[in-house]
Symmetry: C2
Subunit: 253 residues, 2 copies
């Protein structure tokens, strides 16, 4: 038996999220079934970060123990699994052997999420489903400034979903940057909220985004975000941003 | 009657291209019908560059003469047309009044096309349909070097589709750059071929791409591309690259 680490990319649309669920398609089930079709082994994938319905991943990580009948390279095993995943919007982009004690979730030291916003009047065409379109200008510099109050170790209860199963609401935000760049050459802007933490609470990134959007619109400022954080009250923060703008970008070990 | 210039964005999938065709959906028909629904005028759009089936646009330009019953801003007219375009993958991203003698096609002085290639083993998920995936490494520096032989005024017959209706195969390539950047963090590369010319022959960009791909694979070099160009023989050049990687980015006036 060999422990494999898989780096996985997916478009979240049409899936109920990472985790297996009765009667709903999930990323986990799709990959586990593709591995079964390839090697007839009923394995279980352990994932770094479960993503919600509709959330995308560019660098999700999961591990599994597989007993192969013959030796295969990472390239070969990824290709074999992908042959059974296609044409689903899920692909193994890297497969590598790791030590037997490697754990995708417990050994993750850092996660990078991006939330992608397009600020313009027209609806999205090429990027439909791949970003959150906001129908008005946003002050990205104000959003970045306000986001800095979230840096460090805090009780993030104000940004935590009521269904969150984490034992503690205390997390350490390592870095959070809001950047803006020209999107369409005619006044539209692409705004990325990039956040790094060892782990995130359920909906934390989407609730922070919904709050920073209100800063971008001029309704709130950095002092308000600080008050919201300190309130530990979910009701004081902004709404939950939709899943289609959220990307799990990278897991560091 | 006022002449309007429209900047238009679309995802090409599912359309037979810009131009109206019997019994096939086209970008032109969709927008003309949306304008009719909004102002009950049976107008005709004149476009800067007709794109083929499946080709995308981030900055297509077309003009039309419209007699509005009341004065409207560009923002208002774009919003009104988009209300009738949605949920199609076509949007007017800017509408502006231009002088009565403005012509989207005849007054264009420069067009910028991007051809987007993802070089990696795994198939595409998030960018499925938005780039051409090539299943092996490409030497982007060699592609860029070879592309420079196309700069300047040449007879581009070697890269011209047999259905091309242009009077002359002579065009002036102003600039063509091949750039590469990390795509997925695990060895995949995104390669963009960016080309500028006042106008392009039918399939010119896609045939150049199919030829440069062979350079990227090491099958041809810059001297070969020069010979192909000078041969004026379509059969000597590479295959036509698929439409899903091609983007009409910008028209300059």
């Amino acid at each position: 038996v060999t422990r494999w680490k898989f780096t996985i990319e997916y478009k979240g649309a049409g899936y109920a999220g990472w985790q297996r669920q009765d009667a709903l398609p999930s990323i986990q089930q799709s990959i586990e079934e593709a591995i079964f079709k390839f090697c007839q082994q009923d394995i279980r994938l352990y994932v770094a970060g479960r993503t919600d319905a509709g959330v995308h991943a560019r660098g999700q990580v999961a591990h599994a123990d597989i007993a192969l009948k013959k030796e295969m390279s990472g390239h070969e095993i990824a290709k074999a699994i992908n042959a059974h995943l296609r044409p689903q919007s899920i692909a193994v982009i890297k497969a590598e052997i790791v030590p037997d004690d490697f754990h995708a979730r417990f050994h993750a030291v850092n996660k990078l999420y991006h939330y992608r916003i397009i600020s313009r009047s027209a609806f999205l065409t090429i990027d439909d489903g791949l970003a959150w379109q906001i129908n008005r200008p946003l002050d990205a510099a104000a959003m970045h400034y306000a986001a800095q109050v979230l840096i460090g170790q805090h009780d993030f209860s104000a940004f935590r979903d009521s269904n969150c199963q984490a034992k503690s609401p205390v997390k350490t935000m390592r870095k959070i940057d809001v950047t803006a760049r020209d999107y369409d050459g005619v006044g539209g802007w692409e705004i990325i909220i990039a956040a790094q933490s060892q782990s995130f609470l359920h909906h934390q990134m989407r609730n922070i985004t919904g709050t920073l959007i209100k800063v971008g619109k001029g309704e709130w400022n950095a002092a308000d975000v600080k008050k919201i954080l300190e309130s530990r009250d979910r009701a004081s923060a902004g709404p939950t941003a939709p899943p289609e703008g959220l990307y799990l970008m990278r897991i560091d070990y």
